[in-house]
Each structure stands twice: as C-alpha cells, then as structure tokens.
Symmetry: C2
Subunit: 320 residues, 2 copies
C-alpha cells in the first residue's frame, strides 16, 4: 500500500488585524475560501469565539479551515516592539511564531504595519545579505501586465545601495510570482537623463548600471509609469508611498466624478490586497489597515500565490 | 489739460522657447491676445521674420503687440550657463535683460528650464534672504479651488529650512495671485503623525510648526491631495516633480480609456500654462517644454495674473 505524501499550502491569517477586525478579516477569509486552490488551508488566528460563531453562521464546516485561538490583540496605536514582547498570545505574535516554526507557508495581516515588519524581522529574521526588507505594490497596467513598485513605504531614508537591493528583490518577485522571465527595471526619477534627480538617485543610477543580475533600463518618470516600459520600478520608500497614495487619490476622484471603468477600478486599494514583505526568511503579506472583507480576500489570494511560488526561498537564493 | 499716466502691463514672451517654437509660441501669443486685459501688452521676443510673417498671416495689427528682434536661440541640449553667456542676443538673454531693466513686468518662456532658472538668478537675482528659488504648480480641485504644490522640480536635494521658505513663498503666491486670505499649508508626507517621513521631513515638520507667518495644518498624505484640506502643499522638488508628473500619467490614462470629464480634463498639462519662479526679484514664468499653442496661451494668461498682482514685490516684502 502506498501512502501519498501531499503538501497542503498553509495560509495563516491574522483575524484580529485591521481597522474592521475581526469581522472584516473573517468575512474576507470566508470569501477567499471558495477561490483558493483545493490544496490550500486557511489558519484563522484570533479570538476563538468570534471565529467559530461566524463560521457557524456562515455554514462553513471545512477541513481546510483551522482555528488557532489567541487571547490578545495588538492595537494600531501601540508601540510595536513593546507590544510584541508583552503580548505573547496576540494573533500577530502567534502567527509569526507559527511561520518561524514552518507550521505555516505564509502569514498575512492587515494589522499594525510597524508591528508586522518588526514581527517579521524578529521571528523569521532578515535574509543575511539584505540590508532592509521592503514592501512592493504591483500596479495594474492597461494591457493587463504589472509595474511592480518598491519600496512603497518602509524605508523612507535610503542609501543608493538599498535601491540596488530593491531592484534585485523586485526582479525575483516579478519572475517568481508574475512569471516575467527577464523583468525590465527602471529607476523612478525626475527625468530620463542619468544626471537627473537627487544625489542619492544619481548614485543609485550608477550602481544599477553595474548590477549584472538585473535588466536595468534607466530612469522612469512618473509621467510614464503606466506605459509599460518597466516591469519593476525602484525608489525610496518615501517616493513610493507618495506614488501609491496618489493612485488612491486618483481613484477617489474617479468615484467623486461617478466614472466607472473596468481598468481604472483596479486602482481601488481593495484589489491590491496586500504587499509582500521582501527580504525576510519567510513569506509575509502586509495588508492595508482600512481593509474591508474584499480587500482581505484579495490579500489572502495574494498570500496563496506568494506561498505557492515560495517567494522567500527564491529571494534567499538570489542573495546568496 | 490733464495728462493721464497709465501703466500698461508688459508681458515678455520668449518666442524661441519650447519644443515647437517659434510656431506654437506665436500661435499661443495670438490666442492669448483676445483674452488679455486691454491694459496688457505682449512683447514677442525672437526671430523678427517669423514673428512678423505670422502676425501678418493672422491679420494681427495691434498697438498692444511689440516685436523685440533677436538672432540667437538657446537649444534644449545646451549647457545653460555657457549658452546664456555666449548667446547675448538669444531670446532668453534679451528677455531677462528687459526684465532686469524693468522694461517688462513679467517674462515667460517654455524654453530650456535650466537656462530659464539660471537666467532669472543671473539677471533679476535671488531675493536676498531666499536660499533657493523654486517653482510652484497650482492643481485644480473639484470644488474650483486650488492646491498649490511647491517645489515641483528645481531643488531635488533640500534642507528642512528650505521647505519652510517654500511654505512662505507658497503662502504669498496663494494670497496675492489666488486671493486666499489665510492659506492653509500642509507638508506632503507619508502619514499624518508628526513622526512620519524621512529625517528631513520630520525636521521640516518641527520648523513649520514654529513659523508664525504661515498657517501650518500638519502633514498631508498624497491620498488626500485633492480633498481641499490645504491651499498650499510643500515638499522637496523631487517629490513635487513625481506628484506633478503622476498627474500627467493619470491624464494620459483617462485619454487612453476615452474618458471625458470637465474637471479631470484640467489635468491636461496645457491648462497649467506655466509655473512662476518664486524667490527672484522679478516676475518669471516657466512653461512646459512640450507646450503647444494652447499651453503657451495659458502660460501668458498666468503671466498676466502674476504681473498684475506684482507677485515678486510681495514676496520681497514677506522676506524682508
């Protein structure tokens, strides 16, 4: 008799994270359940009563859903390091513990973003040669492709060498998760000439030209961001955050003007789901604090893709 | 018998500046002529033959149009300082000379932006206590008001003290040109909390709180840029340039998606016309290099507003 060893992809969700937790997180998880592949499991980490009540109400009784009961919550206003140290039974601390012990293939949270970053760095640790983990956002382009922007907010004070690392991280992300063989990398800047931009960007341009593991195509003005010249656009976290949030501003304007357009509706933050934390020894997804059920659902689907691609493992290889 | 002394507002236009000069510049000037006030004069600075030919073809024979013949042109690829020094009879050098000698009330050019900045600083000079001149762009908001963003591209490496000066410059611009009594000033940033942003932005926030001549309301995320919280938003020239050009990117997307909307159509760069150079002892407008006739026309109308408000004089007072 043959026993088939079959690996289920275990997706851990912080049910207590986000402004509308636990309800939005639970509803999002339930929405995602139908869309996930049959070999994916959802591990719901949080208040047992809240979780089991909603599962029961929704008639969910699936072997692919596990509950990991926790009793504490890290609030949005708490100091991330202190909170993670003192609240050992918080959904965040427990989720990262499971990830570090390889009980989970990916952990996703829409909770306190500082605490998610600290949790990732303290539990699964940074990849040795990565200076600073970062987060990436994959912007939809009109032709259906993506422009992956990074860093979008973690590292607001950057050195040029960090931008080269972001380029490598983005390249692996584009290749392994979006299947782009040789991702073209641009440097966000104020003009196409090499001499453009701040001193930091001028130096980054020089270093990017020398980096053989990426396909650097030069500077990219924000005017051309959606034109499909690049698959990956690198910048410091301050600039990336401005670009990300101006896209939200633009979406708000479209709603205010009652404009409906299938492509432009993708700028709704809900569709982004979550951004992977790149440069740590584990697959971590960071969701938007204001996530509703739909956004959580998309975060979970993004987490599944990242886990099935085993993104963190590929990044480790690229940096060794 | 009484002789009325009547001041005509003299608007100098660099007819040779811009990618489509001299034709676009001339056509723009002709378009503007009907829209300018009766006490405004247009001084067309450039190739005499080209100017007189087109005026004749268009049947323009007005005492309010003067030709200032010049024989040289500063190209977009030239070194700005060398070009201004060697080409004394270029439209740019002559225009700035007339401005410095107070023959013009304002000078506007869509030519080489570096040469326009250098020309302004060398001819009319910086205002003594202004560290660095900057340029501002007035973004249209849905309610008809403006959000004036500065710097939008000149100073890509900034010190916190410069952002405080930009706040003062923007405040005078908003008050004198747009008639906003007490302009609310925001600091572009990645979050609303004081501790957000790079070290430079954190320090700028501290200094802005202490500046009594402005109405500082705190940080402004790009997500809320069009929501009308601020009249003036300050940032370094790198960040401002990204925001300005991402707005152009959105406009391009709208066109690609065949979306027509009266408000959003204002994001067409043509409607911005030109940005005033703030912090020099004279009224200078810098146009977009790719300006077509319509953009030039709007640059001229903006120049008239700046000249009639005598913006440079008000800024000088505010800094003394």
């Amino acid at each position: 008799m043959v026993t088939l060893s079959f690996h289920m992809t275990k997706i851990g969700i912080d049910i207590m994270g986000g402004d509308f937790a636990p309800l939005a997180a639970l509803e999002g998880a339930i929405l995602a359940l139908d869309k996930l592949s049959d070999d994916s499991e959802l591990w719901l980490i949080g208040d047992q009563l809240a979780i089991s009540d909603l599962l029961q109400q929704s008639g969910i009784d699936s072997e692919r859903v596990k509950i990991v009961p926790t009793t504490q919550v890290i609030g949005m206003e708490e100091h991330p390091i202190k909170a993670l140290q003192s609240k050992k039974d918080s959904s965040l601390a427990v989720g990262f513990g499971l990830l570090a012990h390889k009980k989970l293939d990916v952990f996703a949270s829409a909770g306190h973003s500082g605490a998610v970053m600290i949790g990732a760095i303290h539990s699964v640790k940074q990849i040795d040669s990565v200076w600073r983990p970062c987060v990436a956002s994959a912007f939809p382009l009109p032709d259906g492709s993506k422009n992956i922007l990074l860093d979008v907010g973690i590292n607001v004070d950057c050195k040029p060498e960090m931008l080269v690392q972001f380029a490598k991280l983005g390249t692996v992300y584009a290749r392994e998760v979006f299947g782009i063989e040789n991702p073209k990398v641009g440097l966000l800047n104020t003009g196409s000439e090499e001499s453009k931009g701040s001193l930091m960007y001028q130096k980054a341009h020089e270093l990017l030209k020398l980096e053989s593991s990426i396909e650097f195509i030069g500077n990219m003005e924000s005017r051309d961001f959606f034109d499909g010249h690049c698959d990956v656009t690198v910048c410091d976290g301050f600039a990336g955050n401005l670009i990300l949030k101006q896209t939200e501003a633009f979406y708000k304007l479209l709603k205010k003007r009652n404009i409906e357009d299938d492509y432009l509706n993708q700028f709704n933050y809900e569709n982004y789901g979550g951004t992977p934390v790149l440069g740590v020894n584990g697959n971590v997804l960071l969701g938007h604090g204001i996530s509703n059920a739909n956004a959580i659902c998309n975060m979970i689907l993004a987490a599944e893709k990242v886990a099935k691609a085993n993104l963190a493992e590929h990044i480790k290889k690229a940096f060794n």
